[in-house]
Every structure is written in structure tokens, then in C-alpha cells.
């Protein structure tokens, strides 16, 4: 296969999987998961191949593998895709989350065909967003994700699922309405009536227009990224969702928001960004602190993880508005890192623990002596917690360091609050970890508890999935260069889409 088609092939692999699953006769429903796994692995394989084929030579155009197929003549819309380092990192993330998500939903027996078809639809949409170079295509893929989320949560979810699903959907739709508004206005005002990102990025939109279009678009995307105070969908949605979907939501769907904010809102409207930078930094910092503080007070383990997502995505947004290469690359790395770590946390809480204990109440879980009963789950949760705290040697550390480093330059005052947020993150993670797995009274009551809580052992797919995620967060923690080099190449190259942006601020 020609290398230009590798990124696009990820989309195809996902939708091919959907088609195959839909064609599957009902009685072979249990085969759906195998098809899904195959499709996810293929997509991941393509993503890896595309990543490896990425040319980082100093003069190389960061935007590679461009595919341009005509779609609609008027209004001029093309099926235009292409990937730079940022896209590729996120494609890789999507591949990993898709694969492990399937592994963690190996036990879905209720309507498996529908479940996996919807799951892969989301994956396909996400792949699409991360490589669209045409705003229309980007928006189409962005919206494809919304409706399957609703059904996955409301059909296969748990606590308060219909409420959670509807709330999440309404927030998403509100966000995408803002984006659509910005999109329409951009289209109308663009001199060539084009929606091609490359053309638009080179266009200087009038300042007055950018002044309102930037916040509209940025906010529209950022709602999906869980920006405070429009984050409330995230905890309820995450909690209501089935495990694989929580993983998807935290792992990649929230990244759609931050990616869109970067790739569309910030790239197209640098002047608007400059004006609104401070308010966004305030909101991002507030999200960091608020997420951490609220997580500190939760009784439900999944809510803790849900709020930690707000906290981590706050870092992403803060990193984005630092507008220097260090902060921006940190933000992208944090997207990747939180995708993996958040996915891992949700996998432990939702699949390994909740599916067995049928409760997520921290106090109740504490009484079950989980460290003894489910040692692998305990081990995984410890690793995930450490990674989530931003401890060195895990991927979160380098990401957060880079963001803080970027923020020192721009927002030294917020930095203090952000760092405070880090410390509170440690506190709430430790609290959840201790109370759930190592409650103080556990050792005393060892003996009689062991008999009363016999859980199904952790299955092979779960182990595999957890191992993959742990290996990735650890591997990237030790060798962040693997991801950072392509990311930096995409930011620093003069041909980069974001060049405009970084240059504009440097002036």
C-alpha cells in the first residue's frame, strides 16, 4: 500500500469492521468481538506504519500523506486528509485505545453486534477527525461520534445511564452547534469559499471577526475537552458509560475537543486567540484545581477517575494557550498520556472491579480486601495511579513538565495554581488508592474476608489490555522522544500549519 494512504486506511479499517459486523448473521453475534478486535488491530497497525513512515527530515513538510479526493463541487468540499506529527500521535493513541477497548469489552454478551458496530463507528469518526484537512470532513467525523455515544451509554451503561447519556449528548451537540456556527461563518468569509484547512490557515481573517469567531469555535471544541465550567457532562457520562466507552470517552473523545481547539480554532484565528488567551488560561487552571478538589471528595471510585479527567484536560488546555513550542508539545503529549492513563484507570475501575463487585462505592470496596482478592487489579490500579499522579518514569510526567515549563514563560502566576493542582491530584489519587485497595483495617480482618469474596479471576483479555496500556505509559515515560520528535517537527517547521500561530505570538 502506498504510504500516503496509510492514515486514511485507519478510517477504512474501522468502517469496514462496522460493515462486516452488520453483515454478520445474528446467531454468530459472538464473533463480533473478533471482527472488532481484528479491525482495531488493523487500524492500529496502519497507524503504527504511518507513524514509522513519517519523514522528519529538517526540510520536510510536516503535513504528509495528503489524500485529496473531490467530494462536492459547490460548496467546495473535498475528502482531504493528511497527517502531521500531532495527528499521528493521536492516531496512534486511537489505535491503542480501540484495541484495548475491545479487549476490555470481551465480556459483552448483550447485543454484541450492535455494541461493537457502534464502538467501531466512534473509532472511525475519531480517526477521521485526527487527519481531516477539510473542515467539513472534520466536522462530519466529529459529529459521527456523538450519536453512537448516546446509544452505547444508554444501552450498555450502568448507574443513571439514560440521564448520563442524554446529558453528554446535549453537551456535545451544544458544543458542535458552536463549532458549526464558526464553521459556517469561516466558510462564508474565506476569500475562496474554501474549507481547506491549509488555505484557511494562510488566510488573515479580519480582527473583528476573529474576536468573536475564536471563542465560539474554541469553546465549542473545548466543551468536549471538558473545559471548566462546561465539564459537568464528563463525570456523569464517564460514570454511566460501559467500560470500553469510558475508555473511549476519556481516552480519545475528549482529545477530539482539544485537537479541534488546536487545529481549527487556534490555527485559524491567531488574533482572536491572543485576545482570549488569558480567560482561557484562567478556565484551564480553574479546571485543574476544581477537578482535583472535587475528586478529593468523591465516594464513587469512577467519579474520582472522571474528575481526574477534568483535571488532566485542564493541563492540556493550559498547555495549548501557552503558545510556545514547549507548552504546545507538552499539551499534545498530555493528550496522549491522559488517553492511555485515563483509559487504564477506567478499565480497572469499570471492568476489573465493577463487573465483579457490582459496586463502586469506595467504602464498600475497602471492605472487600481487593488487594488480596484481585491482586492484578490492585497492581494495575497502583501503576495507573502513579502514572496519573505525574510521577517520573511515566508518560504524564514529561507532559506535565513541558506544560509547566511552557506556562512559566507565559502565565507564571497560574503556574503556581497548576502545580497546586498537581499536588491535590496526588492527594486524591492516593486517597482513592488507599481506601479502595489498602484500607487501614484490611490486614486485621484478612482471614475471614478471603473466603467471603471470591471473585472471578482476571481474564486473559483484561490482562493483555492492561499490560499494553501500562507498557505504553511506561515506555513513553522513559522514551518520550519517540513522540516528542514528530510533535516538535510539526510545530517548529516553517511549513507547519501552526507556524502562523507560533510566529504570530513570537512577534
Amino acid at each position: 500500500m502506498p504510504t500516503e494512504l496509510l492514515p486514511t486506511a485507519t478510517i477504512l479499517s474501522a468502517f469496514l469492521g462496522v460493515a462486516l459486523i452488520l453483515l454478520l448473521p445474528t446467531r454468530f453475534g459472538q464473533c463480533a468481538k473478533w471482527i472488532a478486535l481484528l479491525s482495531a488491530l488493523t487500524g492500529f497497525g496502519f497507524a503504527v506504519a504511518a507513524f514509522r513512515g513519517y519523514d522528519m527530515a529538517p526540510g520536510a513538510d510536516p503535513l504528509q500523506s495528503v489524500v485529496n479526493l473531490p467530494w462536492v463541487d459547490f460548496p467546495r468540499i473535498g475528502f482531504t486528509t493528511g497527517a502531521d506529527g500531532v495527528s499521528l500521535v493521536l492516531l496512534l493513541l486511537t489505535g491503542i485505545i480501540a484495541t484495548t477497548g475491545v479487549l476490555f469489552s470481551w465480556n459483552v454478551t448483550q447485543q454484541p453486534r450492535a455494541f461493537f458496530a457502534l464502538f467501531l463507528t466512534i473509532i472511525g469518526g475519531v480517526y477521521g477527525v485526527f487527519q481531516s484537512l477539510d473542515l467539513f470532513l472534520l466536522f462530519v467525523c466529529y459529529e459521527i461520534v456523538i450519536v453512537p455515544k448516546y446509544f452505547l451509554i444508554s444501552n450498555w451503561g450502568s448507574t443513571n445511564r439514560e440521564y448520563g447519556a442524554m446529558k453528554l449528548t446535549i453537551y456535545s451537540v451544544a458544543g458542535s452547534a458552536l463549532v458549526l456556527l464558526g464553521l459556517l461563518a469561516t466558510y462564508v468569509l474565506s476569500p475562496e469559499h474554501s474549507l481547506d484547512l491549509r488555505t484557511l490557515a494562510a488566510t488573515d481573517f479580519p480582527r473583528a471577526f476573529q474576536f468573536w469567531a475564536f471563542p465560539v469555535m474554541f469553546l465549542g471544541f473545548a466543551i468536549l475537552a471538558g473545559i471548566w465550567p462546561f465539564h459537568t457532562w464528563a463525570p456523569t457520562g464517564h460514570v454511566a458509560a460501559p467500560t470500553a466507552v469510558s475508555m473511549l470517552l476519556a481516552g480519545v473523545v475528549m482529545k477530539l475537543g482539544s485537537y479541534g481547539a488546536l487545529r481549527v480554532a487556534m490555527t485559524l484565528f491567531p488574533l482572536g486567540l491572543e485576545y482570549w488567551r488569558m480567560p482561557i488560561a484562567i478556565l484551564a487552571t480553574a479546571g485543574i484545581l476544581y477537578g482535583a478538589l472535587v475528586a478529593l471528595a468523591q465516594k464513587d471510585l469512577k467519579f474520582v477517575v472522571g474528575y481526574s479527567s477534568i483535571n488532566h484536560m485542564g493541563f492540556v488546555l493550559l498547555g495549548l494557550v501557552t503558545l510556545n513550542t514547549v507548552g504546545l508539545s507538552g499539551a499534545v503529549l498530555q493528550m496522549f498520556s491522559h488517553g492511555i492513563i485515563g483509559g487504564l484507570l477506567f478499565a480497572v475501575v469499570g471492568r476489573m472491579i465493577y463487573d465483579r463487585t457490582h459496586t463502586r462505592d469506595i467504602a464498600l470496596l475497602g471492605g472487600m480486601n481487593l488487594a488480596k482478592a484481585l491482586p492484578f487489579a490492585a497492581f494495575t490500579f497502583v501503576v495507573a495511579s502513579l502514572a496519573s499522579m505525574g510521577l517520573p518514569a511515566f508518560s504524564g510526567f514529561i507532559a506535565e513538565i513541558s506544560i509547566l515549563l511552557g506556562a512559566w514563560k507565559t502565565f507564571p502566576v497560574f503556574l503556581i495554581f497548576a502545580a497546586l493542582g498537581v499536588v491535590i491530584t496526588v492527594a486524591f489519587t492516593l486517597r482513592a488508592l488507599q481506601r479502595t485497595f489498602f484500607p487501614a483495617h484490611a490486614t486485621a480482618t484478612d482471614a475471614h474476608d478471603e473466603a467471603s469474596h471470591a471473585f472471578d479471576p482476571i481474564t486473559l483479555p483484561e490482562r493483555l489490555g492492561a499490560m499494553i496500556l501500562m507498557a505504553v505509559t511506561f515506555g513513553i515515560g522513559l522514551f518520550p522522544k519517540i513522540l516528542l520528535t514528530p510533535i516538535l517537527h510539526s510545530f517548529t517547521s516553517p511549513q507547519s500549519l501552526m507556524h502562523h500561530l507560533i510566529q504570530g505570538v513570537a512577534k
Binding site: V72, C141, V147, S154, L181, L184, V188
Partner: protein, 501 residues
């Protein structure tokens, strides 16, 4: 002489339909065939196909009696669409709750279709009125067709009274316009000097005509009949009202406003309000979007939800017309055809559910995904397309519609997105609309019924065509040019012709 012959030639499709209607009616008189719905339906379809073939065969351009009957690529395309929609409605009828006097039912559908096609193929005010009446009168009867159902009767009476009043408004308005300009031809109207356009009598005429059309397309505040009619009418009738008649209505409205009153647009831009039909349209459209979407939120009957959704969708289309140019026309035509396909499909599903479960309340849809997964999937496609979620056709339609409207004013006041306020309203309430469409889908997919309904074999042809419509909506979403390119070509041709005139 020439005119008469030409008329016969160019109205051949309509004539074929009329003859088919007569044949079907006659077939209904015989006991041997009266109860055989399949036979009657086949007759109808044969006639329909013949008419379609004739439409495709005949020359593309003709103008008889100074615009009385016009044939151009646009009318041909719209006529084909109307014909197709009506025939599918007829097929749905075969699998619906309409069981008595089926031949007459089909005949009425055909008669109404003729009216719609005449309406689509004219550029003359008088013919517009005649076409509207020819469309409406059979529809009144179709609405009241379930003579043992009081809601059906009530709906028919309401529809009839409101329709009558609206016809009166329209006629009065048209006559005022004629009185001022001295012509009933749209082409002549386009040549009217500006001074005439400011004549209060003329303005009163335009307003009254718009009120009349407002009733027809169920725009707020002339929408009150719609929910009751959609709910009370037999489902295929409601489908026809919502699909074919809407397509014809919007085509003629678009032509009349965009080409006929091209000089009297005024402006609806924020802060640049100028009298004309644009501000009127903008206000009516925005009100329809707001009221339709909000009222739909609290409905419990799927047909009523579709009715309010129809009101809202009319609003979007009226907003699309504010583009006041060829883009506006082509976007509205594209949108209305896609909308008609979608809503027709949705009514097809409702009709099947009604037939099997005895009602169209939300709870009748519970567990549909288990008993009829294919049908449920189609319903999903229709609802999501109506909500304007990609990759379905509804999204592209809205995008094109909004982009056209938004772009129209910026060319006049450069850099100023004058109609932004309208688009904000439309986009915002489009987001709201997803809620009630999802509520429908929630009953279809999520909520489990208290008792498992007895499985019943669905009507084959109806199911097949529901599937076909879903596929069409999906395919048009993936590749809009399939429909968009012909429309744009046709509109361009018409615009060019008008410019040469």
C-alpha cells in the same frame, strides 16, 4: 391551436396520471378487483412509471401560454421527485390501516399528485392557485379517509377550513398583485418597475400571498392545523402532505419570491432592516424554527413529533430562501427533497408500527429494535438525518442551506455577516431538536417494552421502500452531488434563462 396541442404534449405525464386514476377508480368498482390491493397498486405504479418515463423523454425546455405551463430542467426534476414520493406514499398506503375503498384512496393520491405537478410546472399566478387547490382538495379527503375515526374527521375538517381560509388569502393577495402589475406571469413580475413594488396595495398583496403560503407550508404562526392533521390523518396521507406537497409548495414559493419579487427583497440583516419580503420571511422562518422545535420537545405521539418537526423544518427552508438567489433556490430544493425522502420514510415506519401495534404513541415503539431490527435501524437513520447529524443527507442539506443564507448578505455589506442572527437561531435550535429525535430513538432502541409484542410479519413492499429511503438518505449524505449536481445545473439553467428574458 399550437398551444392546445403543445399543452397535450407537455402535460402528457399529468394526463397519464389522470387516466391511471380513472382506471384505478373503475377497477375499484368491480368486486373481482376491489379488494385486491396488490392489483390496484400495480395499476397505479404502472401509470406512475409511464408518467415518469414521459417526463424523462420529453424536451427539457418549453414555455406555453406565457408561463402557464413551463418545462425546464428544474420543473422536470421536481416533478420526478414529486411523482416518486407520491408513488412511495401509495405503496405505504397498501400496507397501512387504510382498508376500505382502497381504489378511491389511490385515485385521490394520483389526483393530488397531478395538482402538485401542475403547481411545480407553472410560472403563472393563476395556475399557481389552481395547482394549489388541485393539490389540496384531494388531500382534505385523504385526511378524513378513516371515516370511523373521529380524530380523522376532525383533522379533515380543520385542514379543510384552514386550507380554505388560506386559499382565500392567497387568491386575494394574488389578485391584488395582478391589479397593481397587470400581469399574472412571474416573468413579468420580475420586470416590474421599482416604484410599483412600493405601492401599498402591492405590498398588501405580497403579504397576503405569503400568509396563504404560510398556511400551506405550516409556518408559524399559521401552523396550528398541522399537528392535529398529521396525527389524525391516515399515515400515508400525512406522509403525502409532509413530502410531495411540501416539495411542490417550496419550489413555487422559491420561484415566486426569488425570481418574481427579485427587486423587492428588502433586507433582514441585523441593523439593516429594510422593508420587503426578506424580513417577513426571516421572522416567520425564525419563529417556525423556535416554536416547532420547542413544541416538539413535549410530545408523546410520534406523528405529532413529526408534525412539529415539519414546522421547524419549514422554518429552516424559509431561512434558506432568505439567500434570495440561485444558491438559495438550489439549497432549498435540495433540502426539501431530502427532507421529503426522510419524513416519508419516517411515516412509513410509523405506518408499519401502527399496523402492528395499533398506535403511534412513543410507547408503541418500545423494543422495536428487537422485533424488527431493520426497521429500527431505518428509523434511526431518518431521525438522525432530520436532526442534521452527519454523515446523513440532512446534515449536508442544512450546511448548504445555512451557508447559502449566511453568505448572501455578506456580499452586499462586505465583511458583515448580516444574517448571522438567523443562523444562530437556526443552529441553536437545531441542537435542541436532537433531544426529541433522540427521545424517539430512545424508545426504539433503549427502553424495553413491559410485554413483548406479538411478532407480526411486516408489509413487504413498505419495508422494502422504507429501507430504500433510508439507503437513499444515507447515500445522499455520503455523496450529496448525486442530487445536488442536477439541481444546481437546473437552477443555473433557469437563472440563465431568466436573465436572458
Amino acid at each position: 391551436m399550437n398551444t392546445a396541442l403543445a399543452l397535450l404534449k407537455f402535460l402528457a405525464p399529468e394526463s397519464i396520471l389522470a387516466e391511471t386514476a380513472l382506471v384505478v377508480l373503475i377497477a375499484g368498482l368491480f368486486k373481482a378487483t376491489a379488494q385486491k390491493r396488490g392489483v390496484l397498486l400495480s395499476l397505479t405504479l404502472m401509470g406512475g412509471f409511464a408518467a415518469g418515463a414521459l417526463l424523462l423523454l420529453f424536451p427539457q425546455n418549453a414555455n406555453i401560454a406565457h408561463g402557464m405551463v413551463v418545462l425546464d430542467p428544474l420543473t422536470r426534476l421536481v416533478k420526478l421527485a414529486i411523482l416518486g414520493l407520491s408513488l412511495i406514499a401509495a405503496i405505504f398506503a397498501a400496507g397501512s390501516t387504510v382498508r376500505e375503498h382502497f381504489a378511491e384512496y389511490l385515485g385521490l393520491i394520483l389526483f393530488s399528485t397531478i395538482g402538485m405537478m401542475l403547481l411545480a410546472g407553472t410560472e403563472d399566478l393563476l395556475m399557481i392557485f389552481i395547482g394549489l387547490e388541485m393539490t389540496s382538495i384531494p388531500l382534505y379527503i385523504l385526511t378524513g379517509y378513516l371515516k370511523r375515526s373521529s380524530t380523522s374527521a376532525e383533522a379533515a375538517l380543520k385542514y379543510f377550513l384552514v386550507g380554505g381560509v388560506s386559499a382565500a388569502f392567497l387568491l386575494f393577495g394574488l389578485s391584488l398583485i395582478y391589479g397593481v402589475t397587470g400581469s399574472t406571469s412571474i416573468a413579468d413580475l420580475a420586470q416590474t418597475p421599482r416604484a410599483t413594488l412600493l405601492d401599498p396595495l402591492f405590498i398588501a398583496g405580497v403579504v397576503m400571498a405569503m400568509v396563504g403560503f404560510g398556511f400551506k407550508v405550516a409556518a408559524v404562526p399559521f401552523h396550528l392545523w398541522a399537528p392535529d392533521v398529521y396525527e389524525g390523518a391516515p399515515t400515508p396521507s400525512a406522509a403525502l402532505i409532509a413530502s410531495g406537497s411540501k416539495v411542490a409548495g417550496f419550489l413555487i414559493l422559491a420561484k415566486l419570491l426569488t425570481f418574481g419579487f427579485a427587486k423587492g427583497t428588502g433586507s433582514a440583516a441585523w441593523g439593516f432592516l429594510q422593508p420587503g419580503w426578506l424580513p417577513l420571511l426571516a421572522i416567520v422562518g425564525a419563529a417556525s424554527v423556535v416554536v416547532g422545535n420547542l413544541a416538539a420537545l413535549s410530545q408523546s405521539n410520534v406523528k405529532r413529533i413529526l408534525a412539529y418537526s415539519a414546522i421547524a423544518q419549514s422554518g429552516y427552508m424559509l431561512l434558506g430562501l432568505t439567500a434570495a438567489g440561485p444558491i438559495g433556490v438550489s439549497s432549498v430544493i435540495f433540502y426539501v427533497i431530502v427532507y421529503a425522502l426522510t419524513t416519508l420514510g419516517a411515516f412509513g415506519v410509523v405506518s408499519l408500527v401502527e399496523q402492528r401495534r395499533g398506535g403511534s404513541q412513543l410507547h408503541h415503539f418500545e423494543g422495536l429494535h428487537k422485533s424488527a431490527p431493520g426497521l429500527a435501524l431505518c428509523m434511526g437513520v431518518f431521525m438522525i438525518s432530520l436532526a442534521g447529524i452527519p454523515p446523513l443527507a440532512g446534515f449536508f442539506g442544512k450546511f448548504y442551506l445555512f451557508a447559502g443564507a449566511l453568505g448572501s448578505v455578506s456580499s452586499q455589506y462586505s465583511g458583515n455577516l448580516g444574517l448571522l442572527w438567523l443562523i444562530i437561531v437556526a443552529v441553536a435550535f437545531n441542537a435542541v431538536s436532537l433531544y426529541y429525535y433522540l427521545i424517539v430513538l430512545k424508545h426504539v432502541f433503549v427502553i424495553q417494552p413491559a410485554a413483548e409484542p406479538a411478532p407480526a410479519s411486516p408489509h413487504c413492499a413498505t419495508s422494502a421502500f422504507v429501507g430504500f429511503l433510508a439507503l437513499a438518505v444515507f447515500a445522499l449524505g455520503l455523496y450529496p452531488p448525486a442530487l445536488l449536481a442536477p439541481i444546481q445545473y437546473a437552477v443555473a439553467a433557469v437563472t440563465e434563462a431568466a436573465a436572458q428574458h
